[in-house]
């Protein structure tokens, strides 16, 4: 069969997908770019051209810089904690013990739990008057009085990060476990015979096998953490005093609560650009890690 016909046929088979993707992703993205140069409102006026005003206003506003810091903090701390907890859990699950299969099965539960249900669950746990966390900590005499974990700027973000980690570290654990099981037994055995201690065995024998898959998990989790909306919306709506407001929440407020479509669009594109830069940098890193591990 001729190559040209094969290629034409492939394009024809892809056509439905590509048409839909242009309709629901391509066109809206282009439209967002055009909107971002106008002062359009969400409903009513189409707005007029304002050049880069939206961008300069946004980039110089204290709201933006504060939100960027909050989002970065959320992403860095939660992803780092998920990676560490995930690898530790995977190392544990890679040991021989009774009930291992059951425990591995349990790890799928937080991942399968819908994000909104997870957020609701933790919101109930953190409840200032009736929450389980307050009850447990006072009954154990760790704190004297009930606290408003989500109501105080000092603890709200940390409380969110805990909830996010609980849902996401099991996935990292499962990915790391799959990689651990690919480490040949004779290599770890040889390292043991050569007298390598537990730390050196992990660092020099096991980690190279983990690096590639973990990098991919790191990239995907960081991108998701940077785009975070759902868990924050349900638990705090960005409060108290905007202390947990992420970039996605800020875009939502700008475009939908205040109906400033043009300005919201410019902010959305700034976020997109940040995520893209992050992803490209990471992709380079993944390629490097994959190259050195092979």
């Amino acid at each position: 069969m001729s190559g040209t016909w094969m290629t034409t046929r492939a394009w024809l088979l892809m056509l439905p997908l590509l048409v839909i993707m242009v309709a629901v992703i391509g066109w809206p993205l282009v439209d967002t770019v055009m909107l971002s140069f106008t002062d359009a409102q969400l409903v009513g006026t189409a707005g007029s051209y304002v050049g880069f005003d939206n961008y300069t206003n946004m980039l110089t506003s204290s709201n933006f810089s504060r939100t960027l810091v909050t989002t970065t903090w959320f992403a860095v701390v939660s992803v780092a904690a998920e990676m560490v907890l995930g690898v530790l859990a995977a190392l544990l699950l890679n040991q021989q013990f009774r009930g291992r299969a059951v425990l591995r099965g349990l790890m799928i539960l937080p991942w399968a739990l819908p994000t909104v249900v997870n957020a609701t669950l933790w919101r109930l746990i953190y409840n200032p008057e009736y929450g389980a966390l307050n009850a447990a900590l006072t009954q154990l005499h760790i704190i004297g009085d009930y606290r408003s974990w989500l109501g105080e700027p000092g603890t709200a973000l940390a409380a969110l990060i805990v909830a996010d980690c609980w849902k996401n570290f099991p996935l990292v654990a499962l990915i790391a476990l799959a990689a651990l099981q690919a480490v040949p037994r004779d290599i770890t055995a040889a390292a043991l015979v050569d007298g390598a201690g537990p730390f050196n065995r992990f660092r020099f024998v096991i980690l190279p096998y983990l690096a590639g898959p973990l990098m991919v998990a790191l990239v995907l989790r960081t991108i998701e953490a940077f785009k975070v909306f759902d868990i924050i919306w349900v638990m705090t709506r960005g409060g108290p005093a905007n202390s947990t407001r992420s970039l996605s929440i800020l875009v939502y407020q700008e475009a939908f609560s205040f109906q400033r479509a043009g300005s919201g669009a410019s902010l959305a594109l700034i976020v997109t650009l940040l995520v893209t830069v992050l992803a490209v940098a990471y992709a380079a890193l993944v390629r490097k890690t994959a190259g050195s591990a092979a």
Binding site: A10, I25, P28, T120
Partner: protein
């Protein structure tokens, strides 16, 4: 084989129990809240186990009596099922031919890479034009409109899964059928699709999970019982003035059941699907 000292073995078991407790405690508490009488949940010190299990909230939420909490809940349950079903069906119909095409003709693969790269886009970057577009088409607050928007999330993912699935089916088998005179559709029907059936099933389940979990677009594009999905209904409950926390917990348990059951039943397939990208790097 490494010899294990008793101390090390004990350490492993302590860690295993700790990990199990971390995973299970919040989930168990969600269930306990759903069956505890409201008075127990408001008691100080908190009662960790109900004196008498109370399953009435489940009946309350699943009842369809008009203007009850149940009516809103069952409506959102039905909307979630409809949106997830329609979006999954459409995503699979798009993904099977496209995934096959990329698998067999790598020279068009760059277009799939572009589609997958859209994963990086935060939904907020598309939300304003999508809102205006749906509003223009009269599809705001409409399950069909929402299902169409969900293709932004579902279609790239299912296509990628289908492509890796087709990659593992040797093209020689297809070539043999074609040499025997079978056309493309016939080859698909007799050879390719039966072999790819498990991958289609896994992709469909992933798609259902993604659609079931979706919140942002549903929050923006739906406003009442005609289209509101479960995630929005639960967020409403959690953020509203509901005084019975047990009722919120019950809604959470009911919404979590389908994906958790899918997760447990499909464990092996889901994990290999999740990790295939990771392990291949």
């Amino acid at each position: 084989m490494e010899r294990q000292s008793p101390v090390f073995t004990a350490f492993i078991y302590v860690c295993a129990i700790l990990l199990a407790a971390i995973i299970l405690a919040p989930l168990a508490w969600l269930f306990v809240m759903s069956i505890s009488p409201a008075a127990d949940l408001a008691a100080k010190p908190l009662r960790w186990w109900p004196q008498a299990a109370d399953f009435s909230r489940y009946a309350q939420l699943l009842s369809t009596a008009e203007n009850s909490a149940g009516a809103a809940f069952t409506a959102s349950l039905r909307n979630s099922l409809e949106v997830a079903g329609m979006a999954t069906l459409a995503a699979i119909l798009l993904a099977v031919p496209a995934g096959w095409a990329v698998s067999r003709t790598p020279s068009v693969g760059w277009s799939l890479s572009m589609v997958i790269a859209t994963y990086m886009l935060p939904p907020v970057a598309l939300s304003v034009p999508l809102y205006m577009g749906l509003s223009h088409l009269g599809l705001l607050n409409n399950v069909f409109g929402l299902a169409m928007i969900y293709l932004t999330i579902l279609a790239p993912f299912t296509t990628w899964l289908m492509k890796s699935g087709f990659d593992s089916i040797p093209r020689e088998i297809e070539a043999a059928a074609m040499i025997d005179g079978a056309g493309l559709l016939q080859t698909w029907r007799i050879i390719t699709l039966p072999l790819a059936a498990p991958v289609v099933a896994t992709s469909a389940l992933f798609a259902v999970l993604l659609a079931w979990d979706e919140f942002f677009y549903a929050l923006l594009f739906t406003s009442d019982q005609r289209a509101k999905t479960l995630t929005v209904a639960i967020a409403d409950l959690a953020g509203g003035r509901v005084s019975d926390y047990g009722l919120i917990a019950t809604a959470g348990v009911l919404a979590a059941l389908p994906p958790v059951l899918i997760g447990l039943v499909m464990q092996r397939a889901l994990i290999s699907g999740l990790t295939s990208g990771g392990v291949k790097g």
